[in-house]
C-alpha cells in the first residue's frame, strides 16, 4: 500500500465510513469533538449561499445524475459528482488547506459503464464551488452557469466525455424537516436538498463516437459531519422521474439490527415536495447480479401505499460499478408497474 493511495483511501472513507465518534451527543451541540460543525434542525437553508461549500462540515457533495435518450431511443445515464471532505474544519492557505476534493464521473449505456475519478487539494484553486454565479469544478470537470437552475455540465475521462445543458423546470425540493434530513434512530442527520426537475440536452462522447442526447437530470446537495450510525452498513438510494410528471426520492439505510431506516420525499408534477414519514416506503430486492465478486440487487420492488405506488425498478446495466478508490454501484434504472419512468439507483456498502 503506497503512501498516497493510503491517503486517498482514507480521505474517501472519511466520507462514507461508519464512525462511532460521529454519532455521539449530536443534539443541541454546534460541533463534534474534533471541532466539525453539526447539522441542526433549526438551521434554515439560504440560497444561493448554501449552494456553496460549508468547510466547517466534514463532508459535502454536489451530485448530478441524468437519464438520457439518444436519437435511436437508446437509454443512457451520466453521473457527475463533486465531493468535498475536510481533514480538519475550516480553511488554510494553499497546500496547507485541510479541504480535499474529489470527483467521480460516469457514462452508462446498456452495454458499458465508463467512469473516471479525480483528486484535488483545496486552497490552490484546483477544485472548488462558488455559489453565485454558480460554479463547481475539479480540474476541467465543471458545472457552471448564472444560477444553479441554468448550468452547463462537463466531464471527461480517457475514453468518454460529455457536455450537457441543464435547465430547471421547477423549484428546489427540501428533504426531511425543511432540509434537515434524519438518517437514523440515533439522530444522524444531514442538510439535504435536491433540484429534481432539470431538462438535460447535450452531447455524449463515447468510444464509438458522439451521440446527441436529451432527458432529465437530478441534483442532490447534501452536507454533514456524521453520515452513518455505527449500526448502519450502507444505503440504497433511488431518484425516480415518472411519466406523469411526478418524481420521488427515497433511501434505505441498511441496519445490522432490523429493518432499514426508510426515508422518502414525494414530488408532485408542479414541483411541490412532500416528505413522508419514516418507514412508509417499502423496498424488496428481486434479483441480484454478480458485480466485482459480490452479489448486488439490481432489480427492486418499491411500494409507497399512500401514493398507490407499486413498481419494479430495474438496472439499465447491472454492471454499473464505480471502481473508484471508494467503490459503489451507481447507475440508471427503468421503472415499470403502477408508475412508469426512469431514474437512478445508488447502492453502497455491499461487500
Amino acid at each position: 500500500m503506497s503512501v498516497d493511495h493510503t491517503i486517498r483511501a482514507a480521505v474517501a472513507l472519511a466520507l462514507f465510513a461508519a464512525n462511532a465518534a460521529f454519532g455521539q451527543g449530536y443534539a443541541g451541540l454546534a460541533s463534534d469533538a474534533e471541532g466539525f460543525a453539526l447539522p441542526h434542525p433549526d438551521y434554515r437553508l439560504e440560497f444561493p449561499a448554501d449552494h456553496g461549500p460549508h468547510p466547517d462540515f466534514r463532508i459535502e457533495w454536489w451530485y448530478v445524475t441524468a437519464n438520457l435518450e439518444g436519437p435511436d431511443g437508446t437509454n443512457y445515464g451520466i453521473q457527475w459528482t463533486l465531493f468535498r471532505t475536510a481533514l480538519r474544519p475550516g480553511e488554510a492557505e494553499a497546500w496547507a488547506s485541510p479541504q480535499i476534493w474529489f470527483g467521480h464521473a460516469a457514462v452508462t449505456t446498456p452495454e458499458t459503464h465508463l467512469f473516471s475519478e479525480r483528486f484535488a487539494r483545496g486552497g490552490i484553486g484546483q477544485a472548488g464551488v462558488e455559489a453565485a454565479p454558480f460554479d463547481a469544478w475539479i480540474d476541467e470537470w465543471r458545472m457552471w452557469g448564472p444560477t444553479i437552475s441554468d448550468v452547463t455540465l462537463t466531464a471527461a475521462g480517457d475514453d468518454f466525455a460529455y457536455r450537457l445543458e441543464l435547465q430547471a423546470e421547477g423549484p428546489l425540493v427540501l428533504h426531511g424537516d425543511d432540509g434537515y434530513s434524519v438518517k437514523s434512530d440515533e439522530g444522524q442527520a444531514s442538510h439535504y436538498y435536491s433540484q429534481p426537475s432539470y431538462l438535460a440536452r447535450g452531447t455524449l462522447t463515447l468510444p464509438e463516437g458522439e451521440v446527441q442526447v436529451e432527458g432529465r437530470a437530478w441534483l442532490d446537495r447534501e452536507w454533514s459531519s456524521q453520515p452513518l450510525s455505527d449500526r448502519q452498513t450502507g444505503w440504497d438510494w433511488f431518484s425516480l422521474h415518472f411519466e406523469n410528471g411526478a418524481a420521488m426520492m427515497g433511501y434505505f439505510m441498511r441496519q445490522t439490527d432490523g429493518a432499514p431506516y426508510a426515508v422518502a420525499t414525494w414530488i408532485a408534477p408542479d414541483g411541490t415536495g412532500t416528505p413522508l414519514p419514516e418507514g412508509v416506503l417499502e423496498a424488496e430486492p428481486l434479483e441480484t447480479a454478480t458485480v466485482e465478486d459480490r452479489e448486488i440487487p439490481v432489480a427492486w420492488r418499491l411500494r409507497l401505499p399512500p401514493r398507490d405506488l407499486d413498481v419494479e425498478v430495474r438496472a439499465l446495466n447491472p454492471q454499473s460499478w464505480m471502481g473508484t478508490t471508494f467503490s459503489y454501484w451507481e447507475g440508471p434504472v427503468t421503472v415499470m408497474g403502477s408508475h412508469e419512468g426512469r431514474g437512478y439507483l445508488e447502492m453502497t456498502g455491499y461487500e
Binding site: 500500500m1 503506497s2 498516497d4 491517503i7 481533514l87 485541510p98 487539494r121
Partner: protein, 801 residues
C-alpha cells in the same frame, strides 16, 4: 564398473590433497572475484531502480519552465483546469547526520503511486501527512539519522530509496522555505478533449521521460570497469584451473590406461571425469560464492562512496545477495571449469588404450603452436587497431582493451623464447647452456602461468599509471579551480545584500558564484557567470583558448565551455554556440572540469544577470590572504552571525574532493592486489606441476654431479629469470593499457581526457613484487627438489619411465 572407475579416479585426490586444494582454491578465487564484482553491480543497479521507483514518476514525461525557473502555482492549476493531468514535484536537499538526502515533495493526492514495500495504513493520518505538522517518509536506515527538531516527524517506510526523503509538496515547500514547483509530471491516461500545451502554458516545455537511465548511464562506465576487472581475475583463475586439471590428468595417465585396459569405454571414462569435474566445480563454486560475498561486502562501502561522490548516485551500503546471483556464479564456475578442462578431456577421449604410461610435458609446444599464437596475436592486434579507429563508445573501448591484452599475452611466449635463445647464445659453459636450454624446454608448461602474470602486472601498471596521472592532474586542477580562500552562502537575498558589503570591507575581493540550470545542445547544462577578476584570469584551467579570451568573456562576446561539452559537441575555440533564448555566441575557450558529468558553460557575470534573471544567487567566493582566512571565518560566524555550515574553506573543500577521489580508486587498488595474488598462485601451480614431470630431465644432471641443492637453486633462479622477463614485457603493455584507459576509456566514460604521467619508481616496486611472487612460488618446488630422496632420482634410471 563405473562406480569402481569413479572411485579409482577420485582416489587420486586423496593421495594429492595439495593438488586438490590448488584446484579448488584457484577456481574459488576466480569465482569469488567475479561474483563479488557482480554482487556489487547488482546491488548498485537495484538501488538505482529503487530510487527511480520511489519517485513514482519514472518513465513519465515532464513539463519544465523554460530556463529552469520555478513553475508558478497558477500555471499548475491552469493546466489541471484545462484537462492536463499533471502533478507537481519540488526537490531539495536536507542535511542529516553524516550526509545529505534528497527531499522530494509530491502532491500525495495526484502523484502516481510510488511502488513502496512498506505499509503505512493505520500509521499516518492524512491530516498528519498533508497538514501543518507534516511528515517525511524515509527508508528505516535513514529515518533515525534524518530526525531533527527542525524537521517534521520522520516516518520509516520500507522501500523508499536510500538517500531520499518523500513528503507532501506543501510540507516539502515549508521545509525548503520556498513555495516553488520544479517540474510537473504528465500522468498517463489523459482525458479526451485536452487542448495543446501552447494554449495553456506557452512558457512550459515538455521533456521526454527522465528515466532512471540517467544515473544508470552515467555509472555504466564505472560498473563496466568493475566487470572488466572481475573478468580479468576470472580468466587468470581459469589459468590456474587449467594447470591443475592438466597436472591431475597427466599424473593419472597410468590409471586411465589401466581402466581402459580393464574394459571401461573411452566414453564412460570421459563421462566419469566430467562428473568428477562437475563435483569439484560445484564445491569450488560454492566456496567462491561465499568468498565473493565477503569481497563484495568489504568493497561495497567504498563503491557506494565513489558512486555518490562521482555521480551523485546513492546506493545502499548493505548487501543483498540475490538468487540469480548465486545461480549465475555457480554456473560460471562450472562453465569455466569446462572450458579450462576441455583440452585435457579431449586428450583423454583420444587416449589409445595401450598408450605408454609415460608422462611427458603435456604441452610440448611445437614451432607450429608458436606460429599459430603469433598469428592469433597479430589478428587481435589488428582488431584492436580497427576498434580504435572505427569503434566508438565505452564497450568498443573495453573490447579494444581486451584485444590488446590478449594479443600481448599470446605474444609473451614468443618474446620469452627469443630472450631465452639470446641467453643461450651468450651462455658459456655446459651448465649455463643447459640452464638456458632447459628453461626454454619448460617454457610451454609455464607459458599460461606467465601469461596470467603478464596480465596482472600490465593491469597493475596500467591502472596505477592512470590513477596516479589522474591524481596529479586532479590536485593541480583543484588548486586552479578552488582559488578562493572561503566559499560563503547567503540564506536569502536579504542576507546577501548585507553580506556582500560586509565582506567587501574586509576581504580582497568578493566573487559572486551565480548559476542557472539550462539546456544547451539538447542536454541539461549548468551556466555560470564569472566575475572579471584575476582569480579566474590567472588560475582557470584552460585547455585551449583564443587570445584575450577573458576580455571577450567579460564583454559578453564569447563564452567558455567545459571539456565534456566540447567533446560531446565537437567544439573548438572560435566555433559558434547556441545558448537558450536564441543567444548565439562564440566558444572562446575550453577548460577541464573533472568529476562533473554534466555540460557547463561560463559566461560573463553581467550577461548572466541580463539574460537569466532567475539565476541562483547567494554563493560567493572570497579572496583574502590565506593567513587571514581563518580570522574572517570566525568573524563571519561571531560578528555577522552566519551559521558555520554556510561557510566552506578551500582546504576543507580540497580535502573533501581528494577524499572522494581516493575512495574512488580504493576499489581499483584492492582488485589490483587480488589479481596479482591470483597470478602468483598460477605460477606456483604451474611450477609444482612441472616439478613432478621434470624429474626425468633433472635426474641425468644430478647423476652428472650437480647437488640437489644446486639444482634447486637453479630452479629458483629460473623462476626469477622468467618473472623478470615477463615483467620487462609487462611495462610496455601496461603503459599501452594506461594510454587506452586515459585517452579512450576516460573520454568515453567521463568526457574528459587526462595527460599521462609515468612513474618509474612504481614500476621498480612492482618489479620487486613480481620477483617476490615468483620467488615465493618457486621456493616450495625448489625446496621439495632439494630435499627429495636421491632414491627418487635414481628410480628414473631404474624404471621404464
Amino acid at each position: 564398473m563405473k562406480a569402481a572407475g569413479l572411485t579409482a579416479i577420485l582416489s587420486h585426490w586423496r593421495r594429492h590433497p595439495v593438488q586438490l586444494a590448488t584446484l579448488i582454491l584457484g577456481l574459488s578465487l576466480a569465482t569469488a572475484l567475479w561474483s563479488g564484482v557482480q554482487a556489487i553491480n547488482a546491488e548498485a543497479r537495484a538501488s538505482y531502480d529503487a530510487a527511480a521507483r520511489a519517485i513514482g514518476g519514472d518513465g513519465l514525461p515532464s513539463l519544465h519552465q523554460a530556463r529552469g525557473a520555478a513553475i508558478p502555482l497558477d500555471t499548475y492549476v491552469a493546466l489541471r483546469r484545462a484537462g492536463w493531468l499533471v502533478t507537481p514535484v519540488v526537490e531539495g536537499t536536507l542535511r542529516m547526520t553524516g550526509g545529505e538526502v534528497r527531499l522530494l515533495g509530491v502532491d500525495l493526492l495526484t502523484a502516481p503511486p510510488p511502488a513502496l514495500e512498506g505499509d503505512l495504513a493505520g500509521d499516518v493520518e492524512p491530516i498528519d501527512a498533508l497538514g501543518e505538522s507534516g511528515r517525511l517518509f524515509a527508508a528505516p536506515e535513514i529515518a533515525a539519522r534524518l530526525a531533527s527538531p527542525d524537521l517534521p516527524p520522520v516516518v520509516a517506510v520500507e522501500g523508499v530509496a536510500p538517500g531520499l526523503a518523500l513528503a507532501d509538496i506543501g510540507v516539502a515547500q515549508r521545509v525548503l522555505g520556498e513555495a516553488r514547483i520544479d517540474r510537473l509530471l504528465v500522468l498517463p491516461d489523459q482525458p479526451l478533449g485536452r487542448p495543446p500545451l501552447s494554449e495553456i502554458a506557452p512558457d512550459l516545455e515538455e521533456r521526454a521521460p527522465d528515466r532512471q537511465g540517467g544515473v544508470a548511464r552515467l555509472t555504466d562506465s564505472f560498473h563496466l570497469n568493475l566487470t572488466a576487472f572481475g573478468l580479468l581475475s576470472f580468466v587468470v583463475g581459469l589459468f590456474i584451473v587449467n594447470g591443475a586439471v592438466g597436472l591431475a590428468f597427466e599424473q593419472r595417465r597410468p590409471t586411465f590406461r589401466t581402466l581402459r585396459a580393464l574394459g571401461l569405454t573411452a566414453r564412460s571414462l570421459v563421462t566419469l571425469l566430467a562428473v568428477e569435474l562437475l563435483i569439484l566445480s560445484l564445491a569450488a563454486g560454492a566456496i567462491g560464492m561465499g568468498l565473493g560475498g565477503l569481497i563484495a561486502a568489504a568493497l561495497l562501502p567504498d563503491v557506494a562512496a565513489t558512486l555518490r561522490g562521482l555521480y551523485g548516485a546513492t546506493i545502499e551500503g548493505s548487501l543483498t545477495l540475490r538468487p540469480a546471483w548465486w545461480a549465475a556464479g555457480i554456473a560460471i564456475a562450472v562453465l569455466g571449469t569446462a572450458v579450462a578442462a576441455s583440452g585435457a578431456l579431449w586428450k583423454v577421449a583420444r587416449l589409445p588404450a595401450l598408450a605408454p604410461a609415460q608422462p611427458r610435458a603435456w604441452a610440448l609446444a611445437s614451432a607450429r603452436t608458436r606460429r599459430l599464437q603469433g598469428a592469433a596475436a597479430a589478428l587481435l592486434a589488428l582488431a584492436a587497431v580497427v576498434l580504435a579507429v572505427a569503434g566508438s563508445g565505452l564497450v568498443a573501448g573495453f573490447l579494444m582493451l581486451g584485444a590488446l591484452l590478449l594479443a600481448a599475452a599470446l605474444l609473451l611466449p614468443l618474446w620469452l623464447a627469443a630472450c631465452l635463445a639470446g641467453g643461450q647464445r651468450l651462455a658459456r659453459g655446459a651448465l649455463a647452456e643447459w640452464f638456458w636450454a632447459d628453461t626454454r624446454q619448460q617454457l610451454p608448461g609455464l607459458s599460461l602461468a606467465l601469461m596470467s602474470l603478464l596480465l596482472a602486472l600490465a593491469a597493475n601498471i596500467g591502472v596505477g599509471t592512470m590513477v596516479d596521472s589522474f591524481r596529479l592532474t586532479f590536485t593541480g586542477w583543484l588548486d586552479q579551480r578552488l582559488a578562493s580562500e572561503l566559499y560563503v552562502t547567503a540564506r536569502d537575498d536579504d542576507e546577501a545584500a548585507r553580506l556582500v558589503p560586509w565582506l567587501e570591507a574586509r576581504a580582497d575581493a568578493v566573487l559572486p558564484i551565480a548559476r542557472t540550470d539550462q539546456r544547451v545542445a539538447g542536454a541539461p547544462a549548468e551556466i555560470y557567470g564569472v566575475a572579471d577578476h584575476p582569480t579566474y584570469r590567472d588560475n582557470w584551467p584552460l585547455l585551449a583558448a583564443e587570445p584575450e579570451v577573458w576580455d571577450a568573456v567579460a564583454a559578453g562576446n564569447a563564452v567558455l565551455v567545459n571539456e565534456q561539452l566540447a567533446r560531446r559537441e565537437g567544439l573548438r575555440p572560435g566555433d559558434p554556440l547556441d545558448l537558450p533564448d536564441g543567444w548565439r555566441t562564440r566558444v572562446g575557450g575550453i577548460y577541464s572540469d573533472y568529476g562533473n558529468p554534466a555540460a557547463q558553460v561560463l559566461i560573463g557575470l553581467d550577461e548572466l544577470y541580463d539574460r537569466f534573471p532567475d539565476y541562483r544567487r547567494g554563493d560567493y567566493g572570497v579572496r583574502i590572504a590565506p593567513e587571514r582566512a581563518e580570522a574572517l571565518r570566525t568573524a563571519l560566524v561571531d560578528d555577522f552571525s552566519l551559521s558555520p555550515d554556510q561557510i566552506v574553506d578551500q582546504a576543507a573543500l580540497k580535502r573533501l574532493s581528494l577524499d572522494i577521489f581516493e575512495r574512488t580508486f580504493a576499489v581499483t587498488a584492492a582488485l589490483n592486489v587480488l589479481t596479482l595474488t591470483v597470478a602468483g598462485f598460477a605460477i606456483l601451480t604451474s611450477l609444482l606441476t612441472l616439478a613432478t614431470l621434470r624429474l626425468p630431465q633433472l635426474a641425468p644432471v644430478w647423476a652428472l654431479g650437480l647437488t640437489r641443492r644446486h639444482l634447486a637453486a637453479l630452479e629458483l633462479t629460473r623462476a626469477l629469470v622468467l618473472a623478470a622477463l615477463t615483467f620487462s614485457a609487462a611495462v610496455p603493455v601496461g603503459l599501452m593499457l594506461a594510454w587506452v584507459l586515459l585517452s579512450v576509456i576516460n573520454v568515453e566514460a567521463f568526457g574528459w581526457s587526462l595527460p599521462m604521467h609515468v612513474f618509474p619508481a612504481d614500476w621498480a616496486r612492482l618489479a620487486l613484487l613480481s620477483l617476490l611472487a615468483a620467488g615465493v612460488a618457486g621456493l616450495w618446488p625448489a625446496r621439495r627438489l632439494a630435499t627429495r630422496p636421491p632414491a627418487d632420482l635414481v628410480k628414473v634410471f631404474a624404471h621404464e619411465r
